[in-house]
C-alpha cells in the first residue's frame, strides 16, 4: 500500500505524467485482493489500474515505463494505464472501457474451467460499472455456468463527479448479485485485513469449483477522478475522506499488536522511496517507441 501511494505521488508530479487515474485511498482493496492470489490465478481490472498492477507484484519500473510511454514498459508503452497487461505474471490486464472487462473475465474463467485449471479469475471494477447491463449479463452467465470468477466492486462512492447514491438504486451494490444465488458481501474497503479475509473465502470457493461470488468493498478516492479532472468534492469533505487512510489504519493496528514499531515503519518508507526512485530511473532510461511501432502487432 505504501508503494502504491508513494509511486503515485512521484508519478503525479512529473510533467509527462499523462492521463492517470490514481488509486490513492483505495490501496487496501487491491492489496487485500492480491494477498490471496497465487500464480495460478488471473486478475483483470478497470482503468484505475496502478494499484492493482503494483499489488499483483508487477515490477514498478516496468509499470512506470508503461505509464510514461516507454519501450521498457509492460507493453512497450503501447497500452498505457488504461490497458496494461502482463498475463504471464497473473495480471490479465486493465481495460479502460467502464465495465468492459467483466465479460472478458467471465471468458477467461470459462477457459480455466474448461481446462480444469487450479486457479480462479478476479475482476476489479468500480461503482461506475454497476449501472451497466453487461454486469447483469455476466452475473447471470457466471451463476448458470458456475464459473470460477470473483467479481470485486471497488466502490469508492463516486463516478467522476457523480455520487453513487444518485444513480444506482440498490442499497448495497452487493445486492446486484442477490438474484443469482451467489455469495455476496459488502465490507469495509479501507481495512486491508477485512478485504483479504473476505477474498480468501471467495477465491477458495471459486478454485474448488463452487462457483462465483461478488465482493463489494467500500473505499474512498483520495484524489479527483483523474489527473485531468477537477475535484468536485469540498475541501472539508476531502479532509474527512483523507483521514480514513488505509495505510495509517493498518499501521496503527500492527503497532497496537506489537508487530511494527516506528523505526520499522520508517525503514519501510525508505525502502519504498528507493523502489520508486529506481522505477523512475528505469522508466527514464528506456526510450520512447519508434513511430513505426504504431503499425506493429495490429493484426
Amino acid at each position: 500500500m505504501i508503494l502504491i501511494r508513494a509511486f503515485e505521488a512521484a508519478l503525479r508530479v512529473r510533467p509527462d505524467h499523462g492521463f492517470q487515474l490514481l488509486s490513492s485511498g483505495q490501496e487496501a482493496v487491491s492489496v487485500g485482493v492480491c494477498a490471496v492470489l497465487t500464480e495460478a490465478d488471473q486478475l483483470l481490472c478497470s482503468g484505475r489500474s496502478i494499484g492493482p498492477a503494483l499489488a499483483r507484484g508487477l515490477d514498478p519500473g516496468a509499470v512506470m515505463a508503461e505509464l510514461t510511454g516507454r519501450t521498457g514498459g509492460l507493453n512497450r508503452g503501447k497500452a498505457g494505464r488504461g490497458h496494461m497487461a502482463h498475463p504471464a505474471a497473473g495480471f490479465f490486464g486493465a481495460h479502460a472501457v467502464v465495465g468492459g472487462n467483466l465479460a472478458i473475465a467471465a471468458g477467461v474463467a470459462l477457459a480455466f474451467q474448461a481446462a480444469k485449471r487450479p486457479g480462479a479469475v478476479v475482476c476489479l471494477f468500480g461503482d461506475g460499472a454497476c449501472g451497466a447491463g453487461v454486469l447483469h449479463e455476466t452475473l447471470n452467465i457466471a451463476a448458470i455456468w458456475q464459473l470460477p470468477l470473483v467479481l470485486v466492486c471497488d466502490n469508492n462512492g463516486i463516478s467522476v463527479s457523480t455520487p453513487r447514491d444518485l444513480v444506482l438504486a440498490p442499497r448495497h451494490l452487493a445486492d446486484l448479485a442477490a438474484p443469482f444465488a451467489m455469495p455476496a458481501a459488502t465490507i469495509d474497503g479501507m481495512d486491508v485485513l477485512a478485504v483479504r479475509d473476505a477474498m480468501a473465502a471467495y477465491i477458495a470457493r471459486a478454485r474448488a469449483g463452487a462457483g462465483p461470488a461478488f465482493l463489494e468493498c467500500l473505499s474512498e478516492r483520495f484524489s479527483s477522478h483523474s489527473t485531468a479532472t477537477t475535484e468536485t468534492r469540498s475541501q472539508q469533505a476531502m479532509a474527512t475522506i483523507r483521514a480514513r487512510c488505509p495505510i495509517e489504519r493498518l499501521s496503527a493496528h500492527l503497532i497496537a499488536e506489537g508487530l511494527l514499531d516506528t523505526a520499522q515503519r520508517a525503514t519501510l518508507e525508505t525502502e519504498v522511496a528507493g523502489e520508486v526512485a529506481r522505477a523512475l530511473a528505469f522508466a527514464d532510461s528506456t526510450p520512447y517507441p519508434d513511430a513505426a511501432e504504431a503499425m506493429s502487432d495490429v493484426v
Binding site: F92, A103, A105, A111, I141, S296
Partner: protein, 329 residues
C-alpha cells in the same frame, strides 16, 4: 491451364457446409467452443450447427441467453485465454450489442499488449433482408471493415462458407464471418477433400470484357443473374466475388478494371461509407480515373412489407440499369 484431375465434390446445402467446417475444425482443435442461442440440440436457427452438439456435447456447444454483450465478451475472453471460440449472433442487427468486446477489446488486444494477448475468436452472424423487418434485415459489414485488427469474411457459396469458416477458425486474430439469410436455401458443390479458402482473396466468378462488377455475399448471385441477362444483348460483365472485406483483395479488382475500364460495385448495404465507396476510391488510387457506378440499398430502413423491401433492396434490374447507364448501352 492445369492438367490436374477435376476436384471431387459433393453437393451440400449452405448450412451443411458451415456445419462440416466446424465439425472438422472442432475435431482437430479440442479448444474450439461454440456459443449462441439455439446452437445446441436445436442445431442453430438456420440448422447450420446440426450434428455438433451430438458429437461434441454441451461443454463445447453452449446455448446462451439473449445477451450479446456477454456472449461476445465471453467468446473474446475464452480466446484471449488460449482457447478458440465461435460466437453466433443470429441477426447481424444485434451484432451492435456485442461490438464493445469485439472492437474495443478483441481487435485491439494484440496491439495494446504488444503481442502478449491474441484473440482468435470468430463472430459469425447472418445479414440481409428477407421479410423480417427494419431491425432484422440490415447489412452493416461496411461498418466493421475499417476496424484495424479485425478481419471480415463474406462467403457467397457453400464452398466458400466451408473454406472460409475453416480459415477463420485457424486465424490468429478476431474474424467477423458474415453470411446471409438468402444464402441458406442455396446448395452447391463442395470439395470432398479438406479445403481452406484463404482470407483476403477474391474470386472471379465470371470472366468478362466490358465492365467489372464487384460484389459479395448474396448479391453475387444477383450480379451473376444480371451478367447472364446482359450477355444476351452483347454486354460482357466480369463478376468478382470479394469473399473478404478486410483485408480486401483490391489487386484482383484493379487487375480486372485495368482490362475492362469500367467498375460497378453492388452491395445490399448502404452506399454512404459503404463497401463500394471504399473500392471505388481505392481503384481510383490504383488505376486512375475510371468510369464507376455504385449500386446499393436505398437510404431507408428495410420494412418487412414485401413491396417496400423490394423497392429498397438491389435486384437484377437495378444492376442491369446501372451497367447500361455506365456504359451508355
Amino acid at each position: 491451364m492445369s492438367s490436374e484431375p477435376p476436384v471431387r465434390t459433393v453437393r451440400l446445402f449452405f448450412r451443411e457446409a458451415i456445419a462440416r467446417a466446424l465439425a472438422e475444425e472442432m475435431r482437430l482443435d479440442a479448444s474450439i467452443i461454440v456459443l449462441g442461442q439455439d446452437v445446441g440440440a436445436f442445431g442453430g436457427s438456420y440448422k447450420e450447427f446440426v450434428g455438433l452438439f451430438e458429437e461434441f456435447g454441451a461443454s463445447r456447444v453452449r446455448d446462451t441467453p439473449v445477451a450479446e454483450a456477454v456472449m461476445v465478451g465471453i467468446g473474446v475472453g475464452v480466446a484471449a485465454a488460449g482457447m478458440r471460440a465461435l460466437v453466433n449472433i443470429t441477426y447481424m442487427d444485434f451484432l451492435m450489442l456485442g461490438l464493445d468486446p469485439l472492437v474495443n477489446y478483441a481487435a485491439k488486444a494484440r496491439f495494446k499488449t504488444a503481442g502478449q494477448i491474441t484473440v482468435p475468436v470468430v463472430v459469425k452472424t447472418t445479414a440481409g433482408a428477407r421479410g423480417q423487418g427494419v431491425a432484422h434485415s440490415q447489412c452493416i459489414e461496411a461498418w466493421l471493415m475499417g476496424v484495424p485488427g479485425l478481419s471480415v469474411v463474406v462467403p457467397s457459396t457453400p464452398t466458400d462458407a466451408y473454406g472460409l469458416m475453416k480459415s477463420a477458425l485457424r486465424a490468429e486474430g478476431p474474424v467477423l464471418y458474415v453470411d446471409h439469410k438468402r444464402l441458406f436455401p442455396t446448395a452447391g458443390p463442395v470439395p470432398i477433400a479438406e479445403t481452406l479458402v484463404p482470407i483476403g482473396q477474391a474470386a472471379i466468378r465470371r470472366a468478362g470484357a466490358h465492365v467489372t462488377v464487384v460484389s459479395y455475399s448474396f448479391m453475387v448471385r444477383v450480379a451473376l443473374d444480371a451478367a447472364a441477362q446482359l450477355e444476351k444483348s452483347g454486354v460482357s460483365c466480369e463478376v468478382i466475388d470479394l469473399r473478404s472485406l478486410a483485408p480486401i483483395d483490391i489487386a484482383t479488382v484493379a487487375a480486372s478494371v485495368s482490362r475492362t475500364g469500367a467498375l460497378v460495385t453492388l452491395e445490399e448495404g448502404q452506399l454512404i461509407c459503404g463497401v463500394g465507396a471504399e473500392i471505388a476510391f481505392q481503384i481510383r488510387e490504383l488505376c486512375g480515373p475510371v468510369r464507376v457506378a455504385r449500386v446499393g440499398a436505398l437510404p431507408a430502413p428495410v420494412s418487412s412489407n414485401p413491396v417496400l423491401e423490394a423497392a429498397v433492396v438491389p435486384d437484377t434490374n437495378r444492376l442491369i440499369g446501372a451497367v447500361r447507364r455506365l456504359l451508355s448501352v
